[in-house]
């Protein structure tokens, strides 16, 4: 049952639309109490929360073995049929499992929740970060900021669909092209030990050496792969390493954009700025259950394998989930189209009648004159 009254008034504030981390919006957000603020949490009994937070090795070991076995099988099929059209479906499957599943593995192991054993999380984090072309230390701190200030303009650098949306960048990223160019630039910059002014706002100075070492290691690996292709006189090393970045990123993009696109900015309630979507088991395997995105943001210490149970625990206090990825894009695409001309527009999430009251004191930006 949906409440008749909207949970918060129509837009009543002058929107700040500069997404730069060193622009005026971050300062303004801080003045409004939106930075490193207290966020809404549904009450969950401590005993139940402990059950949900409990770490296990089994599910992630099983999923990782299956993932790498599938990758190896598809890579072998591509090699076997190399030179003929039959290699194409193998390489396309390989590219998606490599380029898109690595995104969720990077994410979950970065939170340290995939495995109970710390070194397994660290090992998967390094491998998946490389596969997904996300520099490990740089993205660890970027993602920490994303969780501190989720979709706070001028603070969160992981806003996939800004207002107005950058359509060109989104389209280029279907083939991973915009991200590939920005990653190539940042790896080159970091290999020389430089951080931009924006990066310095979220990466501590003490981590600079680590960022530099990782970037240099990546450059060595990339050069080694190119050298291997030249020595072997084969495109295969290039195809195995670089094809997934352009041919396998599209599913991660579809998942990633669906997390927050079109929803509210500058609110302190993940129910209003994040989207939970029902998905089929194949998508949930690739995405490691990040379709339960409101739940993940509200309780990031709950491992991916427990998110369906967390969803059941919180359902009474949540907006209804989108019934499918297609349904999610049926609300996202019209919203993005409207935001091209009206950046103040966003989808207003309505909370169930049974939900805990909306807390206006946590959302000063919404009530600013």
């Amino acid at each position: 049952m949906i409440a008749d009254a909207p949970p918060y008034p129509e837009r009543t504030f002058d929107r700040c639309g500069d997404y730069s981390l060193i622009g005026p919006c971050g300062e303004r957000a801080a003045e409004q109490g939106l930075v490193a603020a207290e966020w809404y949490h549904t009450d969950v009994p401590r005993a139940r929360m402990k059950e949900l937070m409990r770490r296990r090795n089994g599910p992630a070991i099983r999923d990782t073995v299956i993932w790498f076995a599938l990758l190896a099988g598809l890579a072998l099929g591509g090699y076997w049929f190399w030179g003929g059209w039959l290699c194409v479906p193998f390489f396309l499957g390989y590219a998606v499992l490599y380029g898109s599943a690595s995104d969720s593995r990077w994410h979950e192991s970065g939170h340290g929740t995939a495995f109970r054993t710390a070194w397994l999380n660290d090992a998967l984090y390094q491998v998946a970060s490389f596969m997904n072309a996300k520099e490990p230390t740089y993205w660890r701190w970027s993602h920490a900021r994303h969780h501190t200030d989720t979709i706070i303009v001028g603070r969160d650098r992981e806003i996939a669909a800004m207002r107005p949306p950058n359509v060109r960048r989104l389209l280029l990223n279907i083939f991973g092209l915009a991200d590939a160019v920005s990653t190539a630039r940042s790896v080159a910059r970091h290999a020389t030990g430089r951080l931009t002014a924006e990066e310095q706002t979220f990466i501590p100075g003490s981590e600079r050496g680590r960022v530099r070492r990782e970037a240099r290691a990546w450059v060595v690996i990339y050069l080694a792969v190119v050298a291997a292709a030249i020595v072997l006189r084969s495109w295969l090393p290039i195809v195995y390493l670089f094809l997934p970045l352009v041919g396998g990123h599209w599913l991660a993009l579809l998942f990633g954009v669906s997390q927050h696109a079109g929803l509210a900015e500058n609110v302190l309630d993940h129910r209003l700025n994040s989207r939970t979507i029902r998905m089929n088991p194949a998508f949930r395997f690739v995405y490691w259950n990040m379709n339960y995105h409101v739940e993940h943001h509200m309780f990031p210490m709950v491992p991916y394998h427990a998110l369906p149970r967390l969803h059941a625990e919180l359902r009474h206090d949540m907006p209804p989930p989108c019934p499918s990825l297609l349904a999610a894009y049926r609300e996202i695409l019209p919203a993005l189209r409207r935001q091209l001309h009206d950046p103040s527009y966003h989808i207003r999430r309505e909370l169930p009648v049974s939900a805990k009251p909306f807390r206006p004191e946590l959302h000063p930006a919404l009530f600013e004159a």
């Binding site: 929740t113 109970r116 920490a144 969780h147 990031p300």
Partner: protein, 110 residues
């Protein structure tokens, strides 16, 4: 309740049974906040109550062996020594002496 012994002041934080083994409880005293941790072997420890990274209450986090994990960004600390063990936590926590008397847990402030 407070007790003084020499230069040390002891704050009554909770009853022994208030904290499960391998769990944590928040204890506030004035402007101070503490995390009272009970290890898997039943011993009590106390640290600063707020994560040194972004000041989330550690009592909402998870105790695993010798570690406590922050609920906000999953930074980890050794609650016995206060040492930061996992980014984004980099600054160690202060730890405090603890004693158990008469079924109550006391935190010592020097």
């Amino acid at each position: 309740m407070m007790m003084s012994a020499g230069d040390e002041m002891w704050l009554e934080a909770c009853a022994v049974d208030d904290v499960d083994t391998e769990d944590v409880l928040r204890f506030d005293h004035g402007e101070l906040t503490f995390a009272v941790v009970r290890s898997p072997d039943g011993r009590f420890y106390a640290t600063d109550g707020l994560c040194s990274h972004e000041r989330a209450h550690l009592a909402d986090g998870l105790v695993m062996g010798d570690l406590i994990e922050c609920p906000k960004h999953n930074g980890r600390f050794n609650y016995k020594t206060g040492e930061a063990k996992r980014a984004p936590a980099r600054i160690s926590l202060c730890t405090y002496p603890v004693k158990v008397e008469g079924g109550k847990v006391f935190i010592g402030l020097g």
